[in-house]
């Protein structure tokens, strides 16, 4: 990031290649639409590039990147412009997702259904709950880093994640999706996508 701050466009392209996948999926969990998720991702990376001059090495780059991403996506949800136009429930968006290469057709179909149900469950969360949930469950970030990203306290993050997690569990149960085998425990059991 320091090279980007010095105006090195090639360093920026390396950062893009490293984080684009995570950011586009993070954005997708807010809008459940591939096209819009990519537009948000483009906005986010351009903001990172333009604000590189103000980047301080004391902050972790990942925290810095996700702070910009979370603010951008939360603002998108708060504005409500997108929902008013699309009213997406994740049905169409889920079809855009890709399973791992070694996944069977049945598993791929199950994954699509899960993605659709998760998108619907996420719709019930506030933008901050959604951001905290995604950063914890998909990005594997520690509460301390999430607090720094969302510019709040660890206690507030703990509460956001607890509420969001129980809400999503409840919604998925209501959707009738088959429960999976319990994970071993902890954030380490969650695959980072």
């Amino acid at each position: 990031m320091l090279a980007v701050k010095a105006g090195d466009a090639r360093a920026f392209s390396r950062l893009f290649d490293k984080y684009a996948r995570s950011i586009v999926n993070f954005a997708f969990r807010f809008v459940a639409d591939r096209g819009r998720a990519e537009e948000l991702t483009q906005d986010i990376f351009l903001k990172v590039y333009k604000s590189a001059a103000s980047y301080e090495p004391s902050a972790k780059f990942k925290t810095y990147l996700y702070r910009i991403a979370a603010n951008h996506c939360m603002n998108e949800k708060r504005r409500g412009v997108y929902q008013a136009q699309h009213q997406s429930t994740g049905e169409e968006g889920a079809a855009e997702l890709r399973s791992a290469d070694n996944t069977s057709p049945e598993q791929a179909l199950h994954g699509q259904e899960l993605a659709r149900d998760l998108a619907a469950a996420l719709e019930a969360l506030t933008p901050r709950e959604r951001a905290a949930f995604s950063l914890c469950r998909f990005e594997g970030m520690a509460y301390k880093d999430i607090a720094e990203t969302l510019e709040t306290s660890e206690a507030a993050v703990k509460s956001l994640i607890h509420r969001a997690t129980l809400n999503v569990v409840k919604r998925l149960a209501e959707s009738g999706a088959e429960p999976a085998e319990p994970a071993a425990g902890g954030r380490h059991g969650v695959q980072r996508v």
Binding site: N25, E38, G189
Partner: protein
């Protein structure tokens, strides 16, 4: 869900509790079936999220981002290159002035008129960036003093 440790279960699962709090939750879990069930649900959710398919960013996204990057600040070479069209106009103005002198029209202000007519162009920098300076222009510039000498 009325148990005192209920709100700690997610943080417990995430490994975010300090040792004393963790011990307290574990002691409670040993006796509370309801909290054991809630913890299992959180574990189950994590397993399901592992099976979530992902979105692959398109090649078009990368092109869009890279093409949208602001141009870097121009270096000395780019600065000089941008001045070239200005040089072309100066040459044109110089030629007009010289021709005016050659024609013996001392009262005419043809060169000044040419400058005045081009003043709006000089002030319009974006238009200048697209102007070309031909080899002939450059040759005229090199021979301006000879034209003056012939006068």
């Amino acid at each position: 869900m009325a148990c005192s440790v209920s709100e700690e279960l997610t943080a417990y699962f995430d490994g975010e509790l300090a040792a004393p709090e963790r011990a307290k939750v574990e002691a409670h879990l040993a006796t509370c079936v309801e909290c054991q069930g809630e913890l299992d649900m959180v574990r189950g959710l994590s397993s399901r999220l592992q099976a979530m398919p992902v979105l692959e960013p398109s090649a078009q996204l990368r092109r869009n981002v890279m093409n949208a990057l602001p141009e870097p600040k121009p270096g000395l070479f780019a600065w000089l290159r941008n001045l070239a069209p200005l040089g072309g106009l100066a040459v044109a103005a110089g030629v007009m002035l010289s021709l005016s002198h050659l024609s013996g029209d001392r009262t005419s202000t043809g060169g000044e008129m040419a400058l005045a007519e081009n003043l709006d162009v000089v002030e319009n920098l974006p238009a200048l960036e697209t102007a070309d300076l031909s080899d002939e222009d450059l040759e005229v510039v090199a021979q301006l003093d000879q034209l003056e000498a012939k006068e």
